[in-house]
């Protein structure tokens, strides 16, 4: 009797076990010809105008077509949905000629109204800001021309439009599907969404109606591998074909591997140290200079960044308009640094802390901490979560920040305007120089390139004297791939258009 009860209990448990397993069936992927690209995280959704997650934007790059796209290496803007474009004299009006015969993934024809609708939708969405922040009006002219009006001249506008936050959606699908659109989008992009397992993988197949011809790689899988070291192992094992953002500690290993290839390129972003000028002792320029002299950029780049980046002395690369080498430079010199500190005559010993949130910055800050200790400044490292970091930064509640940034286009305005211009949203360290403000504002409305370059030069030189922030290295983007995968070049945003990739025969 009680034995039967016991058996029943065992059965009950077995049943519970089995239900747990049947909740989700394990499905296999078709490995043949499927390109598997891994990323560090998953996307929240598939809505181009409502997704500024890194991984989401990577996915939307192949799911959606923007009006224009950017070349990975030359940064040249080339046509996509827009066949050609023209800019008005004052730089505030853009006319785009829309390509004919483009079909959505559901087979319907794309009309000008869809493009206009997409632009308007983007303008309304707070998350599509990177593309539409400056757009004030979008309208269709005739049957194939789109006119976008900006609030002022904005030379980087085409780069903004090339971002995956400015994809073209089907007006009808958006209106019919409502909220479901973000899970089941209708797009014109080279690939179509097949399946999504949250937190694990997204499957795509080539869009047969793609207006530039069907993609050479028919099936693509985006896999989530949060640990970059694990991703490298998977790459070596051949479980995945590509990984975006390989950790520098694995560069050697990948370069040695006979089956893998590492593609690197400079990105739109740099690593810097920001000093809170509203606080003592950083209100003293001598102290800021002393700190700049105490940073051994070479040691940082080769010792802890494993050579991933390029040492810079200013906030622009030589290819950028307005780059100058005449900026004030602060070579690594502890004696000089110490001397400056003595000169600054710091009265009281204040508690100084370095605020940061990433592992990379943690390493940087440890080296910085040691260097500052050498010149007699004791600092504490305060690593926090990203949200807490942003919070403290906005409130100006920090002494030193170690951080990196990313921006949309390769120009000086993009790289520093919002950070150093008085009153701008990301200017959190209390820096304010009316001259710099004036030059930056003037550059924005200056259409002539030479005049703009002059203004930027002045800004960069002034910044190197004021030292509100100290540039360390220019960041690099990378993607490691299977050697058989061709057509791969590093994209400065790390948004890869798989349409360009093909398998070696």
């Amino acid at each position: 009797m009680n034995m039967r009860r016991f058996v029943f209990a065992v059965c009950l448990m077995l049943f519970l076990f089995s239900t747990a397993f049947s909740l989700q069936s394990v499905y296999a992927t078709a490995k043949d010809n499927t390109l598997i690209i891994a990323h560090y995280g998953d996307t929240p959704n598939f809505d181009t105008h409502n997704n500024i997650n890194d991984n989401g934007m990577r996915i939307n790059t192949i799911l959606y077509d923007p009006l224009v796209r950017m070349d990975n290496e030359t940064y040249e803007i080339y046509p996509c949905i827009a066949e050609s474009w023209s800019v008005s004299e004052d730089g505030t009006e853009y006319l785009f000629k829309i390509k004919k015969g483009v079909k959505f993934s559901d087979g319907t024809e794309m009309k000008l109204s869809d493009v206009v609708f997409s632009m308007q939708r983007g303008m309304e969405s707070p998350k599509a800001v990177p593309s539409f922040a400056r757009v004030i009006k979008a309208e269709g002219i005739g049957d194939d021309t789109l006119k976008l009006t900006l609030d002022g001249p904005y030379p980087e506008f085409l780069f903004a439009l090339a971002l995956p936050t400015a994809g073209i959606v089907s007006e009808k699908a958006v209106k019919d599907k409502g909220e479901d659109f973000s899970m089941d989008p209708v797009t014109t992009g080279p690939y179509m969404l097949v399946d999504w397992r949250i937190g694990e993988r997204v499957l795509f197949k080539a869009n047969p109606n793609y207006h530039m011809g069907e993609a050479p790689i028919k099936n693509v899988e985006y896999r989530v591998i949060t640990d970059p070291n694990a991703a490298v192992i998977s790459l070596e094992a051949g479980d995945i074909d590509a990984y975006v953002g390989v950790p520098p500690s694995s560069f050697k290993r990948i370069n040695k591997s006979p089956t893998l290839e590492l593609h690197t390129g400079l990105s739109f972003g740099f690593t810097f140290i920001q000093l809170n000028m509203a606080r003592s002792p950083f209100d003293n320029p001598l102290v800021r200079q002393a700190i700049a002299h105490a940073i051994d950029k070479e040691e940082i780049l080769y010792g802890i960044f494993e050579g991933d980046g390029e040492i810079v002395d200013t906030f622009a690369l030589p290819t950028y308009l307005g780059f100058t080498d005449e900026v004030e430079k602060y070579p690594f010199d502890l004696e000089k640094s110490q001397q400056l500190i003595e000169e600054a005559n710091l009265s009281e010993k204040t508690e100084i802390s370095i605020l940061l949130y990433t592992a990379k910055m943690s390493k940087l800050s440890q080296v910085l901490q040691d260097s500052l200790a050498d010149i007699g400044i004791d600092v504490k490292i305060n690593q926090v979560e990203r949200s807490a970091f942003n919070d403290a930064k906005q409130r100006g509640d920090f002494d030193i920040i170690c951080d990196g940034n990313t921006f949309t286009a390769p120009t000086v305005d993009e790289s520093i305007y919002t950070v150093v211009r008085t009153g701008e949203y990301f200017n959190d360290n209390g820096y304010s120089n009316p001259d710099v403000d004036q030059w930056l504002d003037e550059a924005r409305v200056t259409v002539n390139d030479n005049d703009r370059a002059e203004l930027y030069k002045k800004v960069l030189v002034q910044l190197s004297k004021d030292l509100p922030m100290i540039p360390i290295t220019w960041n690099k983007a990378n993607i490691a791939t299977n050697k058989n995968l061709l057509g791969v070049t590093a994209n400065p945003w790390s948004f890869y258009n798989v349409y360009d990739f093909y398998w070696q025969e």
Binding site: S249, R253, I304, S362, V367, D370, N382, V384
Partner: protein, 298 residues
């Protein structure tokens, strides 16, 4: 008879004799347990060497980077090799014992005192107060303690003190429960009745009569928890929510080493071994104490 024996002795004296003999009894049992002795030895060595290293080596050497010497293998100069910053791994691990053990001892002591107070109050007064306290404990027990500690750390921020606080708070219910049940079982015993009828104050009853009589299970639990706390602290540091680098905490050393794990597994193996052996030592001692305090459980 006993009256005659103790005649002329102050009652304090009697207590002292009684206590001493009890302690001696427990200790003699404890020292018969080979594993417990091994645990005590290991822990003593750890404590002594971690204190000694503070005198022998400058803290700056322990935390300062030396990138020319990074990722060296085991050698006479670097017994455990060097880490990704070129720091001496051996020094860091030995110094790490300070931090881990400090977190362990302080947080266990804290949760024992706090949990003890709450549990004793609940157990002694009973009634509605007990019910209310128990509900709170139920609630906290239903939240996994790691999760609870993570939540607290993310509010307070990282760092040794906050980590310590978080673990301490997360451990309170366990101790409260033990204290409560011990107090409840002792509360109604005859000698407490006797003390009460002699007009002892509540305070005196709790501290002089009840608590000394339920010390056994509490000491055991505290020792066993010591290991658990060291583990939790390391875990939290490991997922980046505990002590911050470059402080040589074991979990931190492990996380830093994880990056190089493939080519330099020793960077992961040594700090892990340090954690494991220390926790093992605590558990051996705890087990030994339990057997010594309550031989019938063996």
């Amino acid at each position: 008879m006993s009256k005659k024996l103790y005649d002329g002795l102050e009652s304090k004296e009697i207590n002292r004799i009684k206590k001493k003999s009890q302690v001696q009894f427990v200790l003699s049992h404890l020292f018969k347990n080979r594993l417990a002795v091994a645990g005590i030895l290991f822990l003593s060595i750890m404590i002594i060497s971690s204190i000694a290293i503070g005198f022998l080596v400058d803290y700056k050497v322990i935390v300062k980077h030396d990138l020319r010497n990074k990722l060296l293998g085991v050698s006479a100069r670097y017994w455990f090799g060097t880490d990704g910053f070129g720091r001496n791994l051996f020094y860091r691990i030995i110094y790490g014992a300070r931090i881990s053990l400090m977190i362990g001892f302080v947080s266990v002591a804290g949760s024992t005192v706090l949990g003890g107070t709450i549990g004793s109050i609940a157990g002694y007064y009973g009634g509605k107060l007990d019910i209310i306290i128990m509900r709170f404990i139920d609630i906290q027990m239903a939240i996994p303690s790691t999760l609870f500690a993570i939540c607290i750390v993310s509010v307070l921020g990282t760092g040794i003190t906050n980590l310590l606080l978080a673990i301490m708070i997360a451990d309170i219910p366990q101790f409260a429960l033990i204290f409560r049940s011990s107090v409840m079982s002792v509360k109604n015993s005859e000698f407490v009745e006797a003390a009460r009828s002699n007009g002892c104050s509540t305070y005196r009853i709790i501290f002089r009569h009840i608590l000394p009589n339920c010390m056994g299970p509490i000491i055991v639990q505290a020792t066993l928890n010591l290991g658990g706390v060291i583990l939790t602290a390391a875990s939290l540091s490991f997922i980046g929510l505990g002590v911050m680098p470059p402080t040589p905490e074991w979990g931190v050393i492990l996380t830093e080493g994880q990056e190089y794990m493939r080519d330099f597994p020793t960077l992961v193996i040594f700090p892990g071994l340090a954690i494991m052996l220390t926790v093992l030592a605590c558990n051996f001692i705890g087990d030994g104490l339990r057997d010594a305090l309550d031989p019938k459980l063996k």
